[in-house]
């Protein structure tokens, strides 16, 4: 372990929060929201990798890999949806989609 685990964690938390902020802030652009989620997941991966490094077990790395795979699946579906929505409404602003709400 080259640095204390705590430092890895702090970095991960910073990334995580940045990702969260990105997701919350960019309501006008669904693509940026997805990017934010990617950042958060990367942060999670960082924690896993750090943990794996700390404990010397490969489980964390496996988990990180799985997250990666899962994310790409998710992103592809999400982007397909974005394309679909854009085709219908010609916008990527999520707040434009408000047909479903309490009357």
């Amino acid at each position: 372990m080259i640095v204390p685990l705590a430092h890895v964690l702090v970095l991960a938390v910073i990334l995580f929060c940045l990702g969260l902020i990105c997701t919350l802030v960019w309501r006008s652009n669904v693509i940026m929201m997805l990017i934010g989620i990617e950042i958060m997941l990367n942060a999670a991966m960082l924690v896993f990798v750090g943990g794996a490094c700390h404990w010397g077990t490969a489980d964390g790395q496996v988990f990180a890999l799985m997250i990666m795979a899962m994310t790409s699946a998710e992103v592809s579906l999400a982007l397909a949806l974005v394309v679909y929505l854009h085709r219908r409404r010609n916008t990527v602003d999520t707040d434009e989609f408000r047909e479903l709400q309490d009357q």
């Binding site: 969260l20 902020i21 790395q61 496996v62 799985m66 790409s72 699946a73």
Partner: protein, 162 residues
């Protein structure tokens, strides 16, 4: 040496990310993000996970980001700026929430002292054994999921009569 490298990379990652999320043009944001992911991959490498580092570069910085890029290009080549960057006020609440989480976990994490664990380096072989022996079903699940991502994307993307 490696330690310094870690901190440098960490700073690069964070700065890259900050630039990415504040950038108003998505294409630029992607570029910043790729930078950030590259340095993250390097950190993975430093943390004894070369395989993950490779995947990070290949899948994330490569495939996923390119996918994003494609979509951005496809949807909105000319009017990317129109949506505009969110105003300051919109930043407020997310920032507060982010800071709360950051400070909470960050402070805990900073004070987190662990007994130095005598860890041996994780070899690719070990990784593979863990992956296939221990988490056999996981691969099954994730492969199904990838398959259905394709199915779903196809379903959504299929052009149908209005």
């Amino acid at each position: 040496m490696e330690t310094y490298l870690f901190y440098i990379l960490a700073v690069v990652t964070v700065i890259g990310t900050i630039l990415a999320i504040t950038e108003k043009h998505p294409v630029h944001a992607i570029v910043h993000l790729v930078t950030s992911f590259f340095s993250l991959a390097a950190i993975f490498f430093l943390l004894a996970a070369p395989l993950i580092a490779m995947f990070e570069v290949i899948i994330y910085a490569g495939a996923v980001m390119v996918l994003f890029m494609f979509v951005i290009m496809m949807l909105d080549p000319g009017r990317t700026d129109q949506a505009g960057r969110p105003g300051l006020r919109q930043w407020l609440l997310p920032a507060i929430l982010g800071v709360i989480i950051l400070v909470s976990i960050g402070v805990l994490a900073a004070g987190y002292v662990t007994a130095p664990h005598t860890s041996s380096a994780i070899t690719v072989r070990e990784f593979a054994v863990t992956l296939f022996r221990k988490y056999g079903v996981a691969i099954e699940i994730i492969s199904m999921q990838l398959l259905f991502a394709v199915v779903g994307a196809l379903y959504l993307g299929r052009r149908r009569a209005p």
